[in-house]
Symmetry: C2
Subunit: 306 residues, 2 copies
């Protein structure tokens, strides 16, 4: 049987200092079993996203080491950046990928959350499938007001962490840990500098304001490029495919005569999501993922292992 | 080092009788080393395309067995179908896929051509990289007039086969064997029954009439669906990407108010071709194929073998 694979996508609040970024990523390179796939630093967001697909034990070892380095170098009191955040290690989601259930990822997240707090002293919030109560599933709810807001509100009972005393780590803030399905991080850059337009479009398309059920979105300014961005998480790309989200954004932007300049997919994306959107644009009928040469070869290789 | 892989895409002139199709495909299933990826029978074309990616020896064994079965069941004197053809086993291309050079595939094609003729008595024409002279590289040149035309013209010196006497096999016709780069077989169905429109569009986009340098195209009637089709081979999908070809066809069809109803990719396609076209439609910047989860996992798996 093919081995257990867990996807893990830790986000750190450092996207500008190359030496700090490399130091954080180094444990993921060194621990081969944690399966470093990709890492992407965004200067405007001031954020680092690391994509891993590995085994639970090496993943946790590497995460603890990387966390220590992040805590050592990142001071949330000084941190500025376009992307909402509450900690130096901002969020650690575990995602079932192969031969592992969501239930197992939930217990993994909760066990790791305790180890993590013991090792770093950072308070932990459980989210998504690992949330201890349904009102605390959403990252946006836990993260409300960001680091600065949480600092003042953490005393409120509804904002107490799930692990640790109700007090932020003085420089590292708090960390959100959980288990969820795979999502696609998709950014759409618009040909305008007007942040209000990006915010309006984000509001039009996201679930929380009455838009598509599986889309989270915010409008951000991307100073390095002199444009604005709708930054999205698509949490179910079968129900809300990439092309549909993009074309909806394009339609909305037309209201102000604004065009889509370019898009980015950040981190990993399942092949099915890509092929589904391509089938839309090419009007492809009857196409099977197994017709993609490399996917078919992967299939044969993994069959041989069984 | 990862093993040698040759892609092979034999085309047979049977797309209607399911029992004959299965009998032809059976040797490819049985010889595991020939790596059966896909097979597709088209009733209108009356043609079977089998996609293989395997090792040279099992490939040749399976090809000879399948050829014997095709010869046993297919009578070219009775064969009718939309797609141009000269034989029961119409064409056998070898394509270098992994750890094998084009030169090796050329010698493979030529050695196999001789074995094939000895086993079946069918005359063989070498094409593309395996052609013995530059005027005989193109399949269209060798196939001119199809089975019926070749029957009368095979005596002409410029139409003599490369292997065997200048005489068609009485029921199996002739076979074209060669080596070439990967190509994409792409069909575009149009919302009209007017075959002249499909033919005009094929003429506008293909190399031989002054169109895109790496595109071959013909217009066909697809009776089963009550529409017409531009049936294409894209022989260099980096220089003539899928999206560009489709949009050019769409533009041409607009002249007559005709729309593209659907498209098909037949057989295998490299992931790079799919991602390149998706990057066009989604306006994706900086996307790396390694961001596709399954491609990255394949990469890791094959690295481990080395």
């Amino acid at each position: 049987m093919a081995k257990q694979l867990v996807e893990c996508v830790p986000n750190f609040s450092e996207g500008r200092r190359a030496d700090v970024i490399e130091a954080i990523v180094e444990p993921f390179r060194r621990h081969k079993g944690c399966g470093l796939l990709d890492y992407r630093a965004d200067q405007d967001h001031n954020r680092l996203v690391v994509s891993l697909a590995g085994s639970p034990d090496p993943l946790q070892e590497a995460l603890l080491e990387a966390a220590r380095i992040a805590v050592e170098h990142i001071n949330m009191a000084e941190h500025r950046g376009g992307h909402p955040r509450i900690g130096a290690v901002d969020v650690i989601p575990f995602v079932p990928l192969q031969n592992i259930t969501m239930e197992r990822c939930v217990s993994l997240a909760r066990e790791f959350g305790k180890r993590y707090h013991e090792a770093t002293g950072i308070p932990v919030y459980y989210y998504e499938e690992a949330a201890l109560n349904p009102d605390r599933r959403d990252l946006e709810v836990i993260r409300k007001g960001q680091y600065e807001g949480l600092k003042t509100e953490i005393n409120r009972p509804d904002r107490h962490p799930d692990v640790g005393a109700p007090r932020l780590h003085p420089t590292a803030g708090a960390t959100v840990i959980g288990a969820r399905k795979s999502l696609i991080a998709f950014n759409v850059n618009l040909g305008t500098q007007d942040l209000n337009i990006a915010k309006a479009i984000a509001k039009a398309v996201r679930k929380s304001s009455g838009g598509l059920a599986h889309v989270k979105a915010i409008g951000l300014a991307i100073e390095a490029r002199g444009c604005v961005q709708v930054s999205l998480n698509i949490v179910d790309c079968e129900r809300n495919p990439l092309y549909r989200v993009l074309e909806l954004i394009r339609t909305e932007a037309g209201r102000w005569g604004v065009s889509v300049v370019e898009t980015e997919v950040c981190g990993m994306v399942p092949s099915a999501a890509m092929l589904d959107s391509l089938a839309y644009y090419l009007q492809l009928a009857g196409f099977r993922p197994d017709q993609v040469l490399e996917l078919r070869l992967l299939h044969s290789l993994t069959e041989q292992d069984e």
